[in-house]
């Protein structure tokens, strides 16, 4: 329980900080200007650092995980995605991981029954939940573009139209809001109900879920319930986009809660498991080509090495080799 309650308490406290700061201490400049700039700067620098750091480390061996038939004889059909031999094969493989969670789609569950007998069942819920979670977040982020540009970009407009397809509230209800909240709930529930998940989960697994829940929650409250006026919000975002340090206008406090939690997320991102967003593009088992017999892969830190040579071997066994009528190099 402690590992769930601590991150939950952390998120609650983090949400209260800007609420108190703005509502009672009038620190809207800090929460509306300074922290957002700092968070974005640290996020960009941190994420960039992580990527450069990974990319700077050598990949000494070709360690493709081959999940399909290799390229071999002409008449045997190669599985070019799961056993890629050309760069575009691997590109498709990685992009399918990124956009469709291909490996997770394979997921199944093993159950031990009496007998003893192992039974494998379909288990696509994690795949579906994960996909909904990530895609909803992406759509939500993209449709926020309307706050950052004077003219709402075309893609954000069409995304918003699609997202508000179920026009049942005022302002229009976003499908992704519901989806992401359900997905967060699902991801949380499976961590606490499945005994295996309960054991492997750490506070750092719950924290981002709660944090995202808090961000989405504050956003939803702002939009549908508190109905925070969006124009000053957009003005403030445009000011930030133009690197202005002018103080923000009158904005509902709930907005500061939303914004501050986003800033925390940005800060937390590069130094936590959330960096998997970048890592997935670099995973050697997926990005490399299964052509290690066809083309020599170079290990940058390979050094010359002394081995036990044939000569030494023959020196040790010459008499025995002679007796066995084995050809020898030296008499």
């Amino acid at each position: 329980m402690k590992k769930i309650l601590i991150p939950l308490a952390m998120v609650v406290v983090l949400a209260l900080v800007p609420f108190i700061g703005v509502q009672y201490l009038g620190m809207s400049y800090l929460f509306g200007v300074i922290i957002p700039y700092a968070a974005v700067a640290l996020f960009v620098a941190g994420f960039f650092y992580r990527m450069v750091d990974w990319l700077g480390r050598p990949v000494p061996y070709n360690i493709t995980s081959t999940c399909g038939q290799e390229q071999s004889l002409e008449w045997i059909k190669q599985d070019s995605i799961e056993s890629p031999s050309k760069p575009w094969h691997a590109a498709v493989r990685v992009l399918m991981e990124v956009f469709l969670f291909r490996s997770l789609f394979r997921n199944n569950k093993a159950e031990l029954r009496k007998g003893p007998d192992l039974v494998y069942g379909s288990a696509k819920w994690l795949w579906l939940g994960g996909l909904v979670f990530h895609w909803s977040l992406l759509v939500i982020v993209l449709r926020h573009a309307r706050f950052f540009f004077v003219m709402t970009p075309g893609f954000a407009d069409s995304l918003e139209q699609m997202d508000s397809f179920f026009d049942i509230t005022l302002p229009a209800f976003y499908l992704t809001d519901a989806l992401v909240l359900s997905a967060i709930t699902f991801l949380f529930v499976r961590r606490v109900t499945d005994a295996k998940m309960r054991i492997i989960s750490l506070p750092t697994d719950y924290f981002p879920l709660f944090l995202l829940g808090g961000i989405v929650g504050a956003g939803v409250l702002m939009r549908y319930i508190a109905k925070v006026d969006v124009m000053p919000v957009k003005d403030q975002m445009l000011r930030l986009m133009s690197f202005s340090f002018e103080p923000p206008g009158e904005i509902g406090t709930l907005f500061y809660v939303h914004l501050f939690l986003v800033c925390v997320l940005l800060l937390y991102f590069p130094f936590s498991k959330l960096v998997h967003m970048g890592a997935i593009f670099l995973s050697p088992t997926r990005t490399m080509l299964n052509n290690s017999r066809e083309k020599m892969h170079v290990n940058p830190w390979r050094k010359p090495m002394r081995i036990r040579t044939y000569g030494e071997y023959e020196d040790d066994y010459r008499e025995k080799m002679k007796k066995a009528k084995l050809p020898i190099e030296k008499e």
Binding site: K3, I6, D53, L55, R57, P58, N62, I63, S65, T66, C67, G68, Q69, E70, Q71, S72, W75, E97, S103, L104, R106, A110, L112, P116, D117, L118, Y120, L126, G130, R190, A195, K196, M197, R198, I199, I200, L202, D205, A279, I280, S283, P284, T285, N290, S292, R293, E294, M296, H297, V298, N299, W301, M305, Y310, E314, Y317, M321, A324, L326, P327
Partner: protein, 549 residues
């Protein structure tokens, strides 16, 4: 039965009492609070001091796993932490895989050791967390601010015991990496941790003794050149007695076209020797100009289970010998981890092999352009090509006494991607072939439970547990299709699956693919065949039978 083996009935009871993949009640417990228990049958004996010394590895001494004092060298923590930092610098994979796990749990029930033991620390995610927790503690500033939050811990003796236990309960089979959405490969982590443990003298004799043998004599079994030759010659005699055909293998012969290298288990172990007989019959059948080396007389590479350098050192003999003998290319026998090393590491470690030529089958003229750089061809590819070009006279009815299924070996499956070639060959040499359930074959294949050097007798209970998912899949086809023969292309499988079958599925025998090829080959000048290479009677070929030949 081995004293290190839990009685089948007891283990069965254990499974039945807790029919859940996760055994025990962990509601109130965290994994790092669970004790590590070394019991008879769940660990391998440490390497003998003289073996460690011969190899020049650190800290040779006599010690026992079950004793409190492991006689670790002064400053062992520092050695291990520095070893870890060094490898994190040298391998992007290690750093990336320590950083990017989201603990989604997709890998949890994919590990054969988890399915067989129900021990939470055998979930691949936790196996990696054993190291990750220490790695995270290696950032002191973050650790002080967020004490306990990130689940980090110090490298204590208890943690070290955990590492020693659970990184020798991983067979580097890579099944988890197939399911991981990040592509995290636990084998990478296991390989590194074993290499680090080596730095303070934590290892096992079942790995290091073969490594020392291989370095000295050329093969894991430590067979000296004259004995090696004698043994193959006795197989030649067996072949002659059975088939009336004389095969003529040559040894260390300069100027041969092809150097043939196979695991030494095929030369000395039962049932590997029958596979060796199959190879020799095949080569005789097609008149292949090949030679066998007594110096590079090992296809397998237990160095792979100790350290990167040792793997490279043992592997280097293949090219060294190929160059000395002046062959054109190398043909490799059936083996799992051998092919992981040959396919994914060899040219990087010891190439380029410019003294060799791009492999071309002298019989069919097929160019093996997929082996252009390494210049080493897998026997299943080679034979599949022969059959496809109608170069073999085969009578699959000679395997009618066997009802077969095929076990994909982990390394050949997930570290090479060879699925169709052996199946093609198998279908051509025998009439009865039934696949095991789809979640247990091809890229999802289960390990035999004894791979990566934990095939020791004293580790028997653990091996039977780890091999349970494989055995269970075999049982499935045994009940459904009366399968009685498990065919494989791996020498470790040939050594480890027979006891696994005896334990879980009595009546199922283990065969190498080329043993079945050898059975089916109709040789020039052969005598009337009534028995297979094991001297088991064939069906429909008895003396009075209606032999169609």
């Amino acid at each position: 039965m081995s004293k290190y083996l839990q009685k089948q009935a007891d283990l069965q009871k254990e499974f039945d009492e807790k029919p859940s993949s996760l055994k025990g009640d962990y509601a109130q417990k965290e994994w790092w609070e669970m004790p590590v228990e070394f019991r008879e049958g769940n660990f391998c004996f440490p390497a003998k001091p003289e073996v460690i010394e011969e190899l020049g590895f650190p800290n040779p001494r006599k010690w026992s796993v079950t004793e409190e004092d492991w006689q670790l060298p002064e400053g062992w923590q520092k050695t291990l932490m520095e070893g870890m930092r060094e490898r994190i610098k040298k391998y992007r994979s290690l750093k990336l895989y320590l950083d990017s796990c989201v603990r989604c749990g997709a890998c949890a029930d994919k590990c054969h050791f988890f399915l067989g033991t129900g021990d939470p620390k055998n979930m691949p995610v936790l196996r990696a967390e054993l190291v990750r927790s220490v790695y995270r503690g290696d950032f002191p500033v973050v650790e002080k601010i967020l004490k306990g939050f990130a689940g980090s811990r110090r490298l204590t003796k208890e943690v070290l015991r955990e590492w020693y236990m659970y990184f020798y309960q991983c067979t580097e089979c890579r099944r988890c990496s197939v399911f991981c959405p990040m592509g995290i490969d636990t084998a990478e982590i296991t390989i590194m941790v074993r290499e680090i443990l080596q730095l303070v003298g934590l290892n096992n004799n079942w790995i290091l003794a073969p490594v020392a043998n291989c370095n000295r004599t050329g093969n894991h079994l430590g067979i000296e050149p004259h004995t090696f030759v004698q043994n193959i010659e006795s197989l030649v005699d067996d072949i002659e007695e059975l088939t009336g055909v004389t095969v003529n293998p040559t040894f260390n012969r300069k100027g041969a076209e092809i150097l043939f290298i196979t695991p030494s288990g095929d030369v000395f172990g039962d049932p590997g020797v029958y596979t060796m007989m199959g190879y020799m019959l095949l080569f005789e059948h097609i008149g292949l100009d090949y030679t066998i080396s007594t110096y590079a007389s090992e296809g397998g590479n237990f160095g792979f289970f100790t350290s990167n350098d040792m793997m490279r050192k043992l592997n280097a003999k293949m090219y060294h010998e190929a160059e000395r003998l002046g062959v054109k290319w190398i043909l490799g026998g059936e083996c799992g981890h051998m092919w992981r090393v040959v396919h994914q590491y060899m040219s990087t470690m010891n190439g380029p092999a410019n003294f060799l030529e791009e492999p071309v089958s002298p019989i069919t003229g097929t160019k093996f352009s997929n082996a252009k750089a390494t210049k080493m061809v897998h026997i299943a590819e080679f034979t599949a090509d022969l059959i496809h070009n109608n170069k073999l006279k085969l009578d699959p009815k000679r395997n009618d006494h066997l009802r077969t299924t095929f076990h994909d070996s982990c390394n050949v499956a997930r570290g090479m991607g060879m699925f169709e070639e052996p199946r093609y060959v198998l279908r051509k040499v025998c009439n009865s072939f039934h696949e095991m359930p789809e979640n247990t074959i091809r890229e999802q294949t289960f390990c035999c439970g004894s791979g990566s050097g934990i095939n020791a007798e004293e580790n028997m209970t653990m091996r039977m547990k780890g091999g349970f998912p494989r055995a269970n899949a075999v049982r499935h086809v045994r009940e459904k299709h009366q399968v009685d023969s498990l065919v494989t292309i791996c020498a470790i499988d040939r050594a480890s699956l027979p006891p696994l079958m005896r334990y879980w599925n009595p009546g199922v025998s283990v065969y190498g693919l080329h043993e079945l090829v050898g059975n089916a080959l109709v040789m020039d000048g052969e005598k009337k065949r009534t028995e297979d290479l094991r001297e088991d009677p064939m069906t429909g070929f008895d003396d009075k039978g209606d032999d169609v030949d």
